[in-house]
Amino acid sequence: MKLITAIIQPDKLDEVRESLLKAEITRITVSRCSGRGRADQVDLYRGQVVAPDLINKVRLDIACNDNYVDIAIDAILTAARHGAEGKIGDGKIFVTNLERCIRIRTGETGGEAI
């Protein structure tokens, strides 16, 4: 089992979710965050290093079984990109290993509980 964490632009949330649904991935957790990626705005200002501003982003967390990981990533990649070539700030996907997963209602664990 893997935990996929994607940081995307807020205006793409609905499209990404529809794309995931098409790939039959329905379970998801969404939260607000702010981020800074390609830091081309970092600069000196009157001699001081300045923290560039943070931009609104949305964070998706998706726990899925190993065979679904690539499907999910593809679904996100296609839908989250702005235009055909993408735009700076389109976001990033992180994958970490998920050791256990438990459904609170039933207490089921492992792959079935995803």
Binding site: P10, D11, K12, L13, D14, E15, R32, C33, S34, D53, L54, N56, K57
Partner: protein, 431 residues
């Protein structure tokens, strides 16, 4: 966008060459009416209160949409404040309260309000005050409609729509009912039940049907982003409505007090009724239900404020709440997307009020209750049909040319991002 600008430029040019200050002579004769400072004070206050309703409406509506559309939705009300604010002073007042020419009124001396700059009305108030008071009604009416197609229209199209709606629907209708047109004096419409609420309700319905539902409606629940703000807005609306109804008496006396009293009572009765209904059906009284009932009561009493007493106000409030509640249930069955229930509340409660008031009149008219009911019905039907038909034509034309419905990706991204490039609540993200 270009067309709008051309229009505006044309108007601005027109105004610079207009016959400005040449009406001085004719005014002299009428100047004998002494000013009534008290009535003037109340009418100025009412004007402020009714203006306050528009930000109140922005808050009310703004709180009910999804987070990504909050600025866009509030801008619907604010844009009406600005656009109709100018338009009314330029030609709206002249079209509504000018000498009647059938479809609408017109007096060149009312153009730009120049000729009335120092005129008085028989009630002892300056005519400009009356013009401004009435202007606030012209502002809020198109703003009301915006709730029906919330979360899915282009701002540009909306701006053009309200300009035309105001010129082609509001001004003539208000002229017919109040300005000396052919309905004046027949149907009782104290503060705008037909002109404002029914016409807005029907127009909203027509547009909601034509434009179609929001993407995802009704499968996807669309939760209010800020009920707290909706409650604040409701508070301002209630207070503002005192100006709306009690100000419509154009006096500061008995009638004013009576209108304020029944306004208060009907709003309360409507809210209490809705709470009770929900308590029975769901065991929970929601705040959204509360404000809906309150609004239903306020709308229903609007045409009746000058003519019913406390018991009538209670009945009107209760009835409006019940009928609106049923109407909203029916809507969810029918499945059309009148997003913030402009028809379900303003349209329906407006009709309930306009018709029901007949049976609670303080003074039964000489022609009898039956005949009065007929007049009321006539008022309702004329406003409804006229507003509905013309709105349909306008909507289709604008949607086909400038564009009214947002594209699917723009709608998914939200109005605030797509149309205004802003986000309402920066605080939600660390910054």
């Amino acid at each position: 966008m270009k067309k709008v600008v051309v229009l505006v430029l044309a108007l601005v040019c027109g105004m610079l060459f207009m016959p400005g200050q040449c009406f001085g002579q004719e005014q002299a004769a009428e100047q004998e009416i002494v000013i009534d400072t008290g009535t003037t004070a109340w009418m100025l206050t009412s004007t402020s209160l009714v203006l306050l309703m528009t930000p109140g409406l922005a808050m009310f509506y703004g709180g009910l949409v999804r987070t990504k559309n909050v600025v866009g939705t509030m801008m619907h009300s604010f844009a009406a404040m600005a656009i109709i604010g100018v338009l009314w002073a330029i030609c709206g007042y002249a079209m509504t309260f000018g000498t009647s020419h059938g479809w609408c009124g017109w007096d060149w001396e009312k153009f730009m309000l120049s000729g009335i700059d120092s005129k008085m009305r028989a009630s002892g108030i300056p005519e400009v005050v009356f013009a401004m008071f009435q202007g606030k009604f012209a502002i809020i009416t198109p703003a009301l409609i915006a709730g029906a197609f919330a979360e899915r229209v282009k701002f540009r199209g909306y701006c053009i729509l309200i300009i035309l709606w105001s010129l082609l629907i509001y001004n003539p209708l208000a002229h017919w009912v109040w300005g000396g047109g052919y309905l004046t004096g027949l149907a009782k419409d104290f503060a705008g039940g037909t002109v404002i609420h029914i016409s807005a309700g029907i127009s909203g319905l027509v547009m909601a049907l034509y434009l179609g539902s929001r993407r995802g409606y009704p499968k996807t629940a669309m939760h209010p982003n800020n009920l707290v703000m909706t409650l604040m807005g409701a508070g301002l609306l209630w207070v503002g409505w005192f100006g709306f109804n009690a100000g419509s008496s154009e006096s500061s006396g008995l009638l004013t007090g009576q209108a304020l009293t029944v306004t208060q009572v009907a709003a309360s009765a409507g809210a209490v009724t809705w709470m009770l209904i929900e308590a029975f059906h769901h065991q929970k009284a929601t705040s959204l239900g509360f404000v809906s009932g309150m609004l239903a009561g306020l709308v229903a009493i609007t045409p009746a404020a000058g003519d019913v007493m406390v018991p009538g106000a209670i009945v009107l409030g209760v009835a409006a709440s019940i009928v609106c509640y049923l109407a909203l249930r029916l809507k969810s069955k029918l499945g059309y997307d009148d997003s913030l229930d402009v028809f379900g509340i303003h349209g329906v409660a407006g009709i309930v009020g306009a018709l029901l008031l007949t049976f609670f009149l303080r003074n039964v008219p000489d022609h009898g209750i039956g005949r009065q009911f007929y007049y009321q019905l006539e008022g309702v039907i004329v406003s409804g049909v006229y507003a509905g038909v013309v709105t349909l034509i306008l909507t289709v034309r604008i949607d086909k040319t400038v564009g009214l419905r947002m594209s699917a990706p723009a709608e998914m991204a939200g109005m605030d991002h797509s149309l205004h490039g802003e986000s309402g609540y920066g605080m939600l993200n660390m910054n």
